[in-house]
Amino acid sequence: MRERKRDERTPVLQMVFHGAIASAIGIAVGLAIDWFPEGASTQAGPIDTLWDVLIVVSVPIFVTVSIIVLFSVRNFGMRPGEENLDGPPIHGNTRLEIVWTAIPAIILVALCTYAYVVLVDIEEAQANEMRINVVGQQFTWTFEYPQAGGKPVRSQQLYLPQDRPVRFYVKSLDVIHDFWVPAFRMKVDAVPGIETRYRVTPDRRGTYPVVCAELCGLGHAFMRVNAHVVSPQAFKSWLTKQKQPAQGASAEGEAPDGKALFAEGNGDATACGACHTLADAGTNASIGPDLDEALPGQDAAAIKASIVKPNAELSDGFQAGVMPPNYGDTLSPEELDALVEYLGEVAGK
């Protein structure tokens, strides 16, 4: 109950000094860290800047709390002989309480205002927007490029011309997915029953991962394709090539390699080996049935049916809807035949 007799000179100046140094170091480190993946859209800049501002504001707040805790421990920690002492009975200080209510409120309102300005900026409509429909399904993406007066061009890979504003119209065929290109900084859920949208303007050429960010089932981690940002000329020629009938592609080259298709896919369809184990092709995934066990004894017709209509007949312990049902579309007939032929050989071994 007695008050202690100790040098009560409050070390406020010292704390401000240490706090300022710690904040400066913290901010420097916070800004030096390479937080984001390389930005590839005009949306990335404002978001990355907002992030930096948040770092600059946040570090001093954390430093303030930590410094007060640390100095309290150092200066006011109980020493031998003080076991029965009490601190001074300070019950509060209205002025101080108003200050630490008002200042955070002002900072927060300012940050919200800034964030709102950034939001309006990154979502602003642009002239000459290109529409792309994005369709999510377990566990793949399909991108549709509507063509005036014709069938839309469909692709399993996302191709975008540099510096052309794009608006994605996102849908889902089954459960919720999320269409995210980390390099663009933007994402939105693909929701069954409604169409969601967002805009980006890709501004850097390159290949960037497209990630499904909403848990969508067994293959969620593998629901990945690539976004290719290419020059407008390259985009145009890609689009033209896509418009030609599918056999055009394989007619010009040699016959497709079934084993390579199994292990690596064709750039459009997800590789079989991403989900299936097959020793001959050197894959060891376990999303779908182990083909070393399931394959032997199957004939070509059964193999083809399992690829094109995966839900018609299921292996024990596997549910319907795990395997994308669109391999009949994403593989050309030649590729499908090559794959069936290859698997038939393995099955016969």
Partner: protein
């Protein structure tokens, strides 16, 4: 085996009856509609999951008194044979003593903490390297789903209810909770809910694997394991609601003479606020899961968009509970910190009234921010703006609390023992969780980082760096009161430092890999995140090991620690003015409250006195009698 008396044998028999009842009802209904096949395993399972636990509770004896009363059979209102614990066996019975129930709650919750922790270790083992090592994708999705569900519904929420169950009636000078039998029932629903979630791993198709959020339509089309979550949540939620009602009535009606609202310890204020949140919000999560159950079991189309269902509605209903749930998991911790900091700094809480009002402000604002979980869900764009503002503004009352605690430390005499270390650790770590929370309020940031490891980092800084550290502080702080023994201070400090260091090593890097683009809830990830994940996994195993120090300390100290005096911390609140552990009805004489709860440093100040004239500032200094073995009567 006494099958007619309440207890586990009868409960087992009744559980079997419950399953039989489910078979009979399904056969009868399917027969009446002429469905083929007549017996459907899924239907029986779903009904059994609801019926068997209820039958179990009846068999255990949780309803005996009410049944007797309702049927007009003689009851003994003042019968106390189910009060107090005389041996460890009494903890496995339906007991109406709030102190026994409190310990039942805390021990059960910590059992589930261990289960949830082991699941986390398994996840981190898989994530240590890219590619697949130990578990397949389905098991992995199950691991994180059950991990989160158990730690939220079976650890954090009930452990706070358990601590408050023990100390809250003591703090307000009450002999027990307002509804002791309801209290017992609320406890016994919990192990059933937890067991259900664990057993889901044995369900056909594996455990529930759609996350603790169970978003439709993934959850409505998932294998049977999903219903173990859907129904388990109902029992955990019902338990939570019943306890909250009990707390509200106890606090409002059973305070000792002189205990005005503004003389209540802040732990009582915190549980008052929490209970308001629980009573208003928890029915929403129950509803969301019933919708899922109806979609699955009865072919409703709440969430089937092809039949007019609305997928986003699930998320709105779910988060209307699950955001306030974050405060349900934090406000009681705020209460614990206020107790520990005032006592261990030997100073009054700075700005007591603002501390109480800020709790109520958080309750009110907590209901206005739920859609910040849905910034990228595809809901109407305009809703994001008000939700951003309210989400940011809720940091103001939280900030008031942080600054008031810091001011409480200032110029105190800081006793830096284990509860205090955890309290100070909480102050700094929770501030980090709050800061990342404000960053997440900013819509453009959230658009990029939602569903990434940044979210995982944020939630663990709030729930581990926030809630769990306050839970450890509270358990160490009241351990002498609850067990009558002192814990080992050296082991306690070792526990703090290992937890604090490896907690940060585990979760701090997650901020970075999240912003860099690693999504959450994936068993496999891009090679570039490999090194950080290995580092995180190794650190997380040390977090797991540090918990073993805690368990060893608790078990060995409870069995053979030095006897605790009535008031080892020289605290003023009422629970410390009675023996450790307290007498069977808490107070031999009704206390009268004559001042504030935190008048440290005020010469001669007391909070409560026993009897009109006798000042209570001379509590029994001698060692209290052994805990369970020697009841007063």
């Amino acid at each position: 085996m006494k099958l007619r008396a309440p207890g586990f044998p009868r409960a087992g028999l009744f559980t079997a009856l419950g399953v039989a009842f489910s078979y009979a009802l399904i056969l009868a209904v399917r027969g009446a509609y002429g469905y083929d096949p007549l017996l459907k395993g899924e239907a029986v399972l779903e009904l059994s999951l609801i019926a068997a636990p209820l039958f179990f509770l009846v068999g255990l004896g949780a309803f005996d008194y009410w049944f007797r009363w309702a049927s007009g059979a003689p009851t003994i209102p003042e019968e106390h044979s189910s009060h107090g614990a005389h041996s460890w066996r009494d903890y496995f019975k339906v007991n109406t003593d709030h102190k026994v129930i409190g310990i039942q709650y805390v021990v059960t919750s910590f059992f589930f903490l261990m289960v949830g922790g082991v699941l986390a270790m398994l996840m981190r083992a898989e994530l240590a390297q890219p590619g697949r090592q130990f578990v397949d994708a389905n098991t992995f999705n199950g691991l994180f789903s059950v991990h989160a569900s158990i730690l939220i519904f079976l650890f954090i929420i009930p452990v706070f209810a358990g601590l408050a169950n023990y100390v809250l009636p003591l703090m307000i000078g009450a002999p027990d909770m307002a509804f002791p039998r309801l209290n017992a029932l609320s406890f016994w629903m919990l192990p059933l809910a937890g067991l259900m979630m664990i057993l889901s791993f044995f369900a056909p198709g594996g455990s529930f694997a759609s996350g603790w959020t169970a978003y439709a339509p993934l959850s409505t089309t998932a294998p049977e394991g999903q219903v173990f979550f859907t129904i388990g949540v109902q029992f955990a939620g019902a338990s939570s609601i019943a306890t909250a009602l009990n707390f509200l009535v106890t606090i409002i009606t059973m305070r000792a003479p002189g205990m005005s609202f503004f003389r209540m310890p802040l732990l009582v204020w915190a549980n008052f606020s929490t209970s308001l949140l629980v009573v208003i919000a928890t029915p929403f999560v129950a509803a969301s899961q019933f919708f899922v159950l109806f979609d699955r079991a009865l072919g409703f189309n709440f969430f089937q968009s092809t039949n007019g269902g609305d997928v986003l509605m699930y998320q709105h209903v779910f988060w209307f509970y699950s955001h306030p749930a974050v405060y349900i998991m934090m406000l009681p911790g705020f209460g614990i910190i206020s107790e520990v900091l005032a006592v261990k700094s030997r100073k009054p809480i700075f700005g007591y009234r603002m501390m109480a009002f800020s709790l109520l402000a958080i309750v009110a604002l907590g209901f206005t921010v739920w859609a910040h979980h849905m910034f990228v869900s595809g809901m109407q764009d305009w809703i994001r703006i008000p939700m951003m503002i309210t989400t940011a503004i809720i940091a103001v009352p939280t900030g008031i609390k942080i600054f008031s605690w810091l001011a409480t430390l200032w110029r105190g005499v800081l006793h830096l023992d284990t509860p205090m270390l955890f309290a100070l650790g909480f102050l700094s770590m929770f501030t980090l969780g709050g800061i990342s929370g404000v960053m997440l309020a900013m819509i453009p940031v959230t658009i990029h980082v939602s569903d990434t490891y940044f979210i995982v980092a944020h939630i663990h800084y709030v729930l581990f760096g926030g809630s769990l550290l306050t839970i450890f502080a509270g358990v160490y702080y009241w351990f002498p009161k609850m067990t009558g023994r002192m814990y080992d201070e050296k082991l306690g400090k070792l526990h703090f430092w290992t937890t604090f260091i490896f907690f940060n090593a585990t979760f701090a890097p997650m901020h970075l890999i999240g912003v860099q683009g690693m999504p959450r809830r994936v068993a496999d990830y891009a090679e570039q995140f490999g090194n950080w994940n290995l580092f995180i996994s190794i650190a997380s195993f040390f977090v797991g090991l540090s918990t073993l120090i805690f368990v060893y300390n608790m078990v060995s100290s409870w069995r053979g620690g030095p006897r605790a005096v009535a008031n080892p911390w020289r605290a003023l609140t009422l629970e410390w003015q009675v023996s450790s552990p307290p007498p069977i009805f808490n107070f031999d004489a009704v206390p009268t409250v004559v001042g504030g709860p935190y008048e440290y440093g005020v010469p001669g100040a007391v909070h409560g006195i026993f009897g009109p004239a006798r000042p209570a500032d001379v509590p029994t200094p001698a060692g209290a009698p052994a805990p369970a073995e020697s009841p007063k009567e």
